[in-house]
Subunit: 422 residues, 2 copies
Amino acid sequence: MKLSQSGIGTMRVNNLDEMYPVQDILLQSGQLVQYGTGIYGYSNIVMLVKRNLERIIGEELNKAGCIEVQLPTLQPDTMWKKSGRWNKYIDEGVMLTVESDKGTFCMAPTAEEAVVEFAREKLKSYKHIPVTYYQIGEKYRNEIRTRGYLLRGKSFLMMDAYSFDADLDGLDKSYKKVRDAYLRIAERVGLKMIPVVADNGSMGGKKSEEFMFVSPIGEDTILYDEETKTALNTEILEKDNYEQYLKEEYGIEDISKYEKRKAIELGHIFQLGTMYSESMNAKFIDKDGKEKPFYMGCYGIGVSRLLAAIYENSCIKDENGKVVGIALPKELAPYKIQIIPKIENEQKVKQALELYERLNGTAILDDREGISFGAKIKDCKILGTPYMAILGDKVEDGKVELENTKTGEKQVVTIEEVIKLI
Amino acid sequence: MKLSQSGIGTMRVNNLDEMYPVQDILLQSGQLVQYGTGIYGYSNIVMLVKRNLERIIGEELNKAGCIEVQLPTLQPDTMWKKSGRWNKYIDEGVMLTVESDKGTFCMAPTAEEAVVEFAREKLKSYKHIPVTYYQIGEKYRNEIRTRGYLLRGKSFLMMDAYSFDADLDGLDKSYKKVRDAYLRIAERVGLKMIPVVADNGSMGGKKSEEFMFVSPIGEDTILYDEETKTALNTEILEKDNYEQYLKEEYGIEDISKYEKRKAIELGHIFQLGTMYSESMNAKFIDKDGKEKPFYMGCYGIGVSRLLAAIYENSCIKDENGKVVGIALPKELAPYKIQIIPKIENEQKVKQALELYERLNGTAILDDREGISFGAKIKDCKILGTPYMAILGDKVEDGKVELENTKTGEKQVVTIEEVIKLI
């Protein structure tokens, strides 16, 4: 991206929100644009980071044999009435509804009903299962307590997956497959997402785990052991004889090592069992020729929430620990490097353009005119590329000063080395 | 994709819709799932064809220097009231509205208002323009006359771009840049999209062209010259002295060569001028230090409509001209080849799996058990891969029978040749 064509001028940020400094940088610099409480527009870089997350999540689910599909966001009330959840969601006030000439719809808050309808006509026989469908799409909730810019909004991006099996054994296998994919996703995005046995809440059903990221901006509390990086649900402490239970169930001898810590729920996986397939009468013909309800699992990742966690985790701090900028991890950054020529030197401008072109879409070129060198450096650390390349007077032609924006480490390298690195 | 994990069983299609035979195949085979009038879910392949379209459109717009962003689908009524369009859209009954605790929203039917708000805080000076923002996202309309499955629905995927310039000259340049990108997109997706000078309709403004694809399923009528592959708006015939006008304006001597033909509007580009920037008071500081309203252009491509046109254009016909299957063009097909082993032969099954793995995500493997070879061949032509590879008894090991599914042409080739082709 050439900054001269991007509409990005010099950016100023100050008095950052103490809880959410990085998201506040995004907002103050116009990389996030607020349209109302919990409703945001995304500028190029933030949108592309989100797309990289989608790509990584999709790749790992595909590897696990899951099948990507797209379910409608505009959902007829009829199927929600079949499952019996329409009135419940309406009463709770979380549903955003739409009236049309063809009756009432909701803007999808989740898609169990839609996926059961999707599967109903396809998965008629035991031969067609197991299958796990997933989609990555916008979800909607009349969220009254919006929070932390992207953490909880009225509209948010979700990955939601749904497994269909013939029995509980099959469900256990599908559940494990997705759970393993989650752990690989966590690895790739560079956030420790710890599975914690959870209550099922309003979703109902059997086994379930939440994937928690320990962070001061979390709104959940977990019991966390720094040493083993494992966590427990705080509800465990309410059990009778919880010490004995912990020993038997988890092999934990010393609960006192577990401290209460704030955490963000980034994912949630559930065994639904036959709840939806029975209420919605979705069945398959088993080997014995009999109709049976599917055993279902459902699996979610809050992609815009994950995006928020990644941004907050990608801050540049000054010597006093104050957040002063953004440095995205290389795997997630849509542009890996920002190239800044000192514009008074024509030769350097030309070399910067050449380097930009050779990096073929993976770089930002700051070719804006009439902006000071100092302001360009600052802007780079607001946009968040992992590397910055300065073509300045101090280094000879064919070389650049390369800075790792997260660590501040600088070195003089050749242009060929930059291309190899990126 | 392994069909054994995909939930796809043997598919039957018959009595195809005469107007929309290919979309009817998608529906009957469960590749499209209808949830209500004009509301569909997409199975894996159809969704991925759509994603390929998004990718191609994005690549060409990026090449033209356009900047991808994401504007909200949930839009506050306040900005629509600023532009003066809220009541108009409500009166026409095309808006799907949502009540929330924070007031009334609409589900975005278009995004001129949202993009003006997006630009307002960013493009403060002549130094920040020209810029063209675009997004590819779901749009919503209370469409009463839904049509042709994907052609006109209540929810549909759109690419919408918006240019911001300092004056009419700049607007002309931005308009041409996007127009050229449209022609490159048409080239790459393999559909002749002909620009036709258009009326601006409800959008208001200056110059505008529609990009039309000549097709019997179109709901528009244009004047089309088969020889030169050019087209004119039928409204021209209503002009006084239209023959003289055609000669002077277009150099056309013989209007009788132009025949009335049905066409699908796949894209539309408009010069809006200062209409929205004035009504919404969105201005920049020009070189002379004075505040001026932006000159805007807006540009749309109906992505789900384009998807429908591409599918209808990708039919396999029998000797009587009857549509019997689908063969997607190679550039757009997410899976280029379907591999079918004759399952009675273990060696062939093994080779099929090896070929599948070497093709690294670009192939479908029909590894379903208990399904006849004939049914597998039929299913392949319903899913629509451009090629089919049969590992059968008739060809020696290490070779396959390769069929071009569109032309029916068959040849025996080595596995290495298949890999090279794909």
